[in-house]
C-alpha cells in the first residue's frame, strides 16, 4: 500500500508527506504534554505542600489546562504604550519557535525522528540559545524595569550556564563519537552499563543543574523571580503572547529532559544486562521506556521547584563560573584520557 503511494507521487513528495505527518504527531503530542505538564506541576507541587492543587474543573481538575488555554485565548491582548512594538510582538514567537523546533531532532524511539541530522546536539544548543533571545528581547521591548531586569538576568544566566552545559555534554560526545542523537543512544548500547549516566555522572550533575538554569526553572528562575520581579521578562505580556512564553518554557523543559534521557539514560533502550536478566523488559516498546524516563525528569523539575528556594544572583554566577565550568573541564580531560588509553 505504502509502496504504491510512493510510486504514484514520487520519492520527494512522499518524504515530505512523511515529515509533515511526523511533525503533526510530535507537535500534537508535545502540545498535549505541555498542557498536562502545567496541570501535573500544580498537582505535584500542591501535594508536596500538603494541598490538593486544582480540583474544580472536571474530575480532580483534569480539564484545568483546557480552561486555562481558553482563558488565555480570550484575554485582552495588551501592548504597553511605551513598548517597542515590533520587538514586543516578535519576542514570544522567537522564544516559542526556537524551543519547539528543537523537538524536530529528538529521536523518541528507534527510527522515529523528524530530522535525523548529524549535528543534532549542536542544533539543540543553537536553538536553546536562540530561545534566550526571545526572553532578552521581551525584557527589552516591554519598557518596564521589571521586564528589563528579567531580560538582563536571563542573558547573563544563559551565557554562564550554556557553557557549562555544553562542556558537560562534550564527555558524552567523546564516549559516543557522534553528535547525532540516535547515534548517541546506539553508542550507549555498546557499553556494558548501557547508560552514560554511570561513567559520566559528573557530566550528568552539571547537565542537570544547567538544565534548570537553561529552562529558567526553580531554583534558577531568576529571570522571572516572582517575589522580586513580579513575573520578570513577561510582566507586560497578556493573553496569547503570555501563553507563548509559557509554552516555550514547558516545551523547553521537555526538550531538555529529552536530551538528558538521550545522552545519559540511554534514550529508548534499557541497559543490556538488565534486558538479559529480565527478558520480558525487551518486550516493552521503546517509546514507553523513553516516556517514562522523560516523565521522571519532568517530575524532577517539579520536585526541585517544590523543595529549593531561589538562588541569589551572585550565588548563581559563582556556582556557574567557579564550580560547574571547571568541573566540566576536568570531566572532559578525564574522559579523554580514559578514552585514549582504553
Amino acid at each position: 500500500m505504502i509502496d504504491i503511494v510512493r510510486l504514484h507521487i514520487g520519492e520527494l513528495a512522499f518524504n515530505i508527506i512523511i515529515i509533515l505527518v511526523k511533525t503533526a504527531i510530535v507537535f500534537g503530542v508535545a502540545m498535549l504534554h505541555v498542557a498536562y505538564a502545567t496541570y501535573f506541576e500544580r498537582k505535584v507541587i500542591g501535594h508536596m505542600q500538603v494541598r490538593l492543587g486544582p480540583m474544580r474543573v472536571g474530575y480532580h481538575g483534569l480539564l484545568q489546562p483546557i480552561a486555562d488555554g481558553l482563558k488565555a485565548f480570550f484575554k485582552e491582548d495588551i501592548i504597553p504604550s511605551g513598548a517597542d512594538r515590533p520587538v514586543f510582538v516578535v519576542a514570544p514567537l522567537i522564544a516559542m519557535f526556537a524551543t519547539i523546533s528543537s523537538l524536530s531532532v529528538i529521536p523518541f524511539f528507534d527510527g522515529f525522528v523528524i530530522a535525523d541530522i548529524n549535528v543534532g546536539l549542536l542544533y539543540i544548543f543553537a536553538m536553546s540559545s536562540l530561545g534566550a533571545y526571545g526572553i532578552v528581547m521581551a525584557g527589552w521591548a516591554s519598557n518596564s524595569k521589571f521586564s528589563f531586569l528579567g531580560g538582563l538576568r536571563s542573558s547573563a544566566q544563559v551565557v554562564s550556564y550554556e557553557i557549562a552545559m555544553g562542556l558537560s555534554l562534550v564527555g558524552v560526545m567523546l564516549m559516543a563519537g557522534s553528535l547525532n542523537l540516535s547515534e548517541i543512544v546506539k553508542a550507549q548500547q555498546g557499553y556494558w552499563h548501557g547508560m552514560f549516566l554511570i561513567p559520566q555522572f559528573i557530566a550528568f550533575f552539571i547537565f542537570t543543574v544547567g538544565m534548570f538554569a537553561e529552562t529558567n526553572r526553580a531554583p534558577f528562575d531568576l529571570p522571572e523571580a516572582e517575589s522580586e520581579l513580579v513575573a520578570g521578562y513577561f510582566v507586560e505580556y497578556s493573553g496569547m503572547r503570555f501563553a507563548f512564553f509559557f509554552l516555550a518554557e514547558y516545551v523547553g523543559m521537555i526538550v531538555m529532559s529529552s536530551i538528558s534521557v538521550i545522552c545519559f539514560w540511554g534514550g529508548w533502550t534499557l541497559p543490556l544486562f538488565l534486558v538479559n536478566a529480565l527478558p520480558f523488559l525487551g518486550e516493552i516498546p521503546g517509546i514507553v521506556i523513553f516516556m517514562l524516563k522523560l516523565y521522571f525528569h519532568i517530575f524532577l523539575f517539579y520536585w526541585v521547584r517544590a523543595t529549593l528556594p531561589r538562588y541569589r544572583y551572585d550565588q548563581l554566577m559563582s556556582l556557574g563560573w567557579k564550580v560547574l565550568i571547571p568541573l566540566a573541564l576536568v570531566n572532559i580531560v578525564v574522559t579523554s584520557v580514559v578514552k585514549f588509553f582504553l
Binding site: 505535584v44 500542591g46 501535594h47 508536596m48 505542600q49 500538603v50 494541598r51 490538593l52 480540583m55 520536585w303 526541585v304 517544590a306 523543595t307 529549593l308
Partner: protein, 182 residues
C-alpha cells in the same frame, strides 16, 4: 569536621534531605477542605448569623430595653418600641445590619434575658444589601431555623448564660444582686 562539611557539600546532603522531605509529604493526606462539598461545621458557641430568641411558648424574649443597641460597637442594631394597651413596652421593629456587625457578641453578653443570640449559621452571603439586613421577622425565623430545641438550650447553658438567671427578684422588679446560691 572540615572533611565532613566537604562531603556534605559535594554530595548535596542537605538538598537530598529536603527532597526526601517533600517526596514524603507528597504521599501524606492534604489538609485542604473542599469547602462547599465539605463544609466546616461551626463549633458550639460559634458567633454567626443573628437570631432573636423565643421562649418555650414561642413568644419573643426581647423586651426592647435597648441594651444591645447601646453596647454595640458598630451600632448595627436598631430598636423601635411603642406603648402597648396595658402600658407595656412593645418591640415594633428590631433590625440588625449584618454587614456592619463585627460579631463581637457584646449584644449577647449585654442582654439580661438572653433574647439575642448569634447562631452557628454563617453561610448567608447574598447579592444585595437588603438581603443582609435582618428585620424582626427574619431574626425570629433564624431562631426556628438554627437554634430551636436543644441547640438553643446548650447555647445558653454552656456559653452565653443570660443574666436573668442570676437575678434575685423582689416585688416583681428584677434587680441584680449577685449570682444565685453564692
Amino acid at each position: 569536621m572540615q572533611i565532613r562539611d566537604l562531603v556534605k557539600r559535594i554530595f548535596l546532603l542537605e538538598i537530598i534531605k529536603g527532597m526526601a522531605l517533600t517526596l514524603r509529604r507528597m504521599f501524606t493526606r492534604a489538609v485542604t477542605r473542599q469547602y462547599p462539598e465539605e463544609p466546616r461545621p461551626a463549633m458550639p458557641g460559634f458567633r454567626g448569623l443573628h437570631a432573636l430568641a423565643k421562649d418555650d411558648e414561642g413568644n419573643m424574649k426581647c423586651v426592647g430595653c435597648g441594651l444591645c443597641a447601646a453596647v454595640c460597637p458598630s451600632q448595627c442594631i436598631r430598636i423601635f418600641t411603642s406603648e402597648g394597651l396595658r402600658h407595656e413596652k412593645v418591640v415594633e421593629r428590631y433590625e440588625v445590619d449584618t454587614l456592619k456587625c463585627l460579631f463581637c457578641a457584646l449584644c449577647v453578653e449585654a442582654c439580661p434575658y438572653g433574647a439575642i443570640v448569634l447562631t452557628r449559621h454563617y453561610e448567608y452571603s447574598a447579592y444585595s444589601k437588603e438581603d443582609c439586613y435582618m428585620n424582626k421577622e427574619r431574626l425570629l425565623e433564624n431562631w426556628d431555623k438554627y437554634m430551636a430545641g436543644e441547640v438553643g438550650k446548650e447555647y445558653f447553658e454552656r456559653f452565653w448564660r443570660p443574666m436573668s438567671i442570676d437575678f434575685e427578684g423582689s416585688d416583681g422588679q428584677a434587680v441584680f444582686k449577685g449570682v444565685k446560691g453564692q
